[in-house]
């Protein structure tokens, strides 16, 4: 604020500025509440990142199980998309096929199925995932449980035979009617159940578990490929580290203690980390944003709960595998966890917070 402004160099007043001849004619300007800029990410972007991250695991599965796996994948994705479209139609809402969420559900469901699944099993699974898992709650964002896991558990309980008929991986040429066998965890559970030791089960070595040359749902077998994809998601900032790390740590801790106490009847924690659906579950299913807590503290609790339940079901439950059940149970606990892990408001004293919460 100086006296000079508005006066010419010699101190004489300047002419009032004449407005520019061409007036600015503001066309329809957009008026909306702040903020006016955005970081750029959107929901389809997130879904695409997850799909990309699933690629290594998916390719490994396709490599080991061949055409059968491809058939399951195509059926599941097509089924989910069709069901998504139909559900939107039914409630007269715009179809949401473009947000990639139905594609992702389809891919995850497929990866959670045996490669030899009959076509009707896959389609029923798709309908359950999208219809019962998501649409009935109001669509994306409102479902309390992971849709793909709802479908998997529904199928496992309804069609136990088909859901536990595991094709033995034989590479890309694996025939559609290939020989079947047990999963590593299944073999161990059976051997221990018969009073034998873990070593008697003849489970595949760690190297096979790592690359995925073992029986199982076709997308869960290659721990290494899934881990790569998960780490990439973490690096891209799509998922937060708390869930996978807490998940794996809790599983390793419980199975590790059991193994140390009785190595003959409890497999090494490495087998539990690399075997079964743990990698797929910890990195891709438990990290589902909609069905997990929103705070980082909540995610730690959620992940640890998943890991703990997985280990307990695997070691002492009736099923050889417990990842799906564990995640679904923790999904149910998510609202409770959210409630108890509300962040402290800036400037709020710790004590005040407790009192406010108790009131």
């Amino acid at each position: 604020m100086t006296l000079e402004s508005g006066t010419g160099p010699d101190g004489a007043p300047t002419e009032p500025a004449t407005p520019v001849a061409e007036p600015i004619t503001p066309r329809d300007l957009i008026v909306s509440a702040s903020p006016h800029v955005h970081a750029g990410q959107d929901v389809p972007w997130i879904m695409r990142q997850v799909l990309l991250a699933l690629l290594p695991g998916l390719l490994a599965g396709l490599w080991f199980f061949g055409l059968g796996a491809l058939r399951v994948l195509v059926l599941a994705v097509a089924g989910c998309l069709a069901c998504e479209w139909a559900c939107a139609r039914l409630v007269k809402r715009p179809a949401t096929l473009r947000d990639y969420s139905a594609v992702l559900t389809g891919v995850l469901l497929a990866m959670n199925l045996p490669s030899g699944s009959p076509w009707w099993l896959v389609l029923i699974g798709s309908a359950v995932a999208i219809g019962l898992g998501k649409a009935v709650y109001g669509g994306l964002g409102y479902n309390p449980f992971n849709p793909a896991l709802v479908a998997r558990v529904f199928l496992l309980i309804s069609f136990p035979v088909q859901m536990t008929t595991w094709v033995v991986p034989q590479g890309p040429g694996t025939a559609l009617d290939a020989a079947t066998g047990a999963t590593p965890l299944g073999a161990i559970k059976e051997a221990v159940g018969l009073g034998r030791t873990v070593a008697d089960a003849g489970a595949p070595g760690l190297r096979d578990l790592l690359v995925g040359n073992v029986g199982g749902s076709f997308g869960e077998v290659s721990a290494l490929a899934l881990l790569l994809g998960g780490l990439w998601l973490l690096w891209r900032g799509v998922i937060r580290w708390q869930v996978p790390v807490a998940f794996m740590a809790a599983t390793a801790l419980v199975t590790g203690i059991a193994h140390l106490a009785d190595p003959a009847h409890y497999a090494s924690p490495l087998v539990h980390l690399l075997g079964g659906g743990l990698m797929l579950g910890a990195w891709f299913m438990a990290t589902d944003m909609v069905t997990s807590p929103v705070t980082r503290r909540g995610l730690l609790i959620f992940g640890a709960g998943c890991g703990l339940l997985t280990a307990v079901i695997r070691l002492w439950g009736g099923y050889p595998e417990g990842v799906s059940f564990a995640i679904l149970l923790m999904n149910a606990a998510t609202p409770l966890i959210d409630r108890w892990t509300r962040p402290r408001v800036f400037g709020e004293a710790r004590k005040l917070y407790r009192e406010a919460d108790a009131a």
């Binding site: 604020m1 508005g6 903020p35 929103v294």
Partner: protein, 453 residues
């Protein structure tokens, strides 16, 4: 000390190198009476009156009120409800300039702040109509008058300028460093504090250096380069970053012994006392991809937006949004006849394709907003509650602690209009509180009447 949360938007500080340029005198100015938080003043002029530059157009009513002054000499064309940057028309004085720019004879004589008493300085600051120039426009003399029971021991000078695009404060610090530091000394004298902290984001080391060099020997200031992170310039977060003190929820900076002032405000205070000049000008950044010639402008308060845009070469044909302030907290304008006012730190012109539409898909509970919220709130849950009009629940979620910084909406992948929800939610929650209070009062009165009867 680093606060948790916050975001790193693209900064676009393209105008940082442009010298402040004085906007030429205009034909016409529209000076709203309400340019500050608090009671609008009482209008002193009427249609047809001749006014001189710096002549008061209104007088304050009460303590939390400041006058506005004529930006140039001329004739009062009308005193009426005219377009205002806040959205709805408000009382304003329209002045047709006579081109003479004749100063008012009643100006206060220049004075030396080092010789004046705090009370005199406060009076001068109020009479000059000085308000916080960071954007909140709270009357400065009020902030400089903490009640006796609040022991203020630290004055914080806010040079963070964390809003993207804006460079007005940056230029003021570079070009008027001495005045900024003198103004800081003046405000320290008013408050009676011996300690001051200057906080500047790390993307403006030159500004910090300029202020350090210009610091007078008798002004004890500490200089700190802060992390470049939005909203570093938010009062509460700046205080925390510089002093480690946390303003409690619902509290004011003075509750932790601090007062925060913007660098532009420091200059305005100095000019009010040193030169006796009221606040009729400010520096504003006119920028964005949709303006032809970006500027850092010294513009007189009341300059119509249209003229300011014209001076900057006009807007491009693909202009989509014209914002007063920065892109995170600024206000979108729809009427090009609104004037720039004391709180207008910038005019941002965004292209059609840059103007983000927050259409609002479903919340996918990704938690990005929870990570981004610098206040430790849960925007995802609050947004869902507000969306369903369950406003009475918002109190439990500390809605009144929301500073509307926009970090949550900025990161939301579903583009949910969270800030819009919270602005409405706050208003609704305040209404609910008011209603409850009224009901308690009524009940108390009824009980009293029953007791006496």
């Amino acid at each position: 000390m680093k606060f948790s949360g916050g975001v790193h938007p693209a900064y676009h500080k393209d105008t940082a190198g442009l010298q402040i340029e004085a906007m030429p005198l205009l034909h016409r100015y529209v000076v709203p009476i309400a340019q500050h938080l608090g009671a609008p003043g009482k209008v002193l002029v009427a249609k047809g009156d001749r006014v001189a530059r710096w002549q008061p157009l209104s007088e304050p009513v009460g303590f939390v009120s400041v006058p506005v002054h004529a930006p140039t000499s001329g004739t009062v064309k009308q005193v009426a409800a005219l377009p205002h940057p806040l959205g709805r028309p408000m009382l304003a004085v329209e002045i047709e300039s006579d081109g003479e720019d004749r100063p008012w004879e009643g100006l206060a004589p220049p004075a030396d702040w080092r010789r004046l008493e705090p009370a005199e300085l406060r009076r001068a600051i109020q009479a000059a109509g000085v308000v916080g120039m960071g954007g909140a426009t709270f009357p400065t003399h009020v902030k400089l008058s903490p009640p006796a029971e609040k022991k203020v021991d630290l004055l914080i000078l806010n040079g963070a300028e964390c809003e993207p695009y804006l460079t007005a404060d940056h230029r003021v610090m570079l070009e008027q460093a001495a005045e900024v530091m003198e103004g800081l000394g003046l405000m320290m004298r008013v408050l009676g504090v011996t300690r001051a902290c200057v906080g500047i984001e790390s993307n403006k080391p030159d500004a910090l250096e300029a202020l350090r060099r210009a610091c007078p020997a008798d002004v004890a200031a500490e200089f700190t380069l802060l992390e470049t992170k939005y909203p570093q310039g938010s009062e509460k977060h700046l205080i925390y970053a510089l002093s480690g003190r946390r303003v409690p929820p619902g509290g004011l900076p003075m509750d932790v012994g601090c007062v925060v002032q913007n660098v532009g405000t420091a200059v305005a205070c100095l000019e009010a006392v040193r030169d006796g000049l009221p606040m009729t000008e400010r520096v504003a950044t006119v920028t964005g991809a949709a303006i032809n010639v970006p500027h850092n402008l010294r513009v007189r308060v009341g300059a119509p937006l249209l003229d300011v845009l014209a001076h900057c070469g006009g807007v491009t044909p693909d202009v989509g949004k014209v914002i007063f302030g920065g892109p995170m907290m600024g206000i979108g304008q729809f009427d090009m006849d609104v004037p720039l006012i004391k709180g207008t730190s910038g005019v941002l012109c965004l292209r059609d394709d840059e103007a983000v539409l927050f259409e609002g898909g479903p919340c996918i509970r990704c938690g990005a907003c929870v990570d981004a919220c610098p206040m430790g709130l849960v925007p995802s849950a609050m947004g869902l509650i507000a969306e369903r009009f369950r406003f009475e629940e918002l109190g439990d979620w500390h809605i009144l602690d929301c500073i509307e910084c926009g970090s949550c909406a900025y990161v939301c992948p579903s583009r949910r209009p969270l800030v819009q929800h919270f602005k409405r939610g706050k208003a609704e929650w305040r209404d609910i509180l008011e209603e409850r209070r009224a009901k308690t009062d009524r009940d108390a009165k009824r009980a009293e009447t029953a007791a006496t009867a």
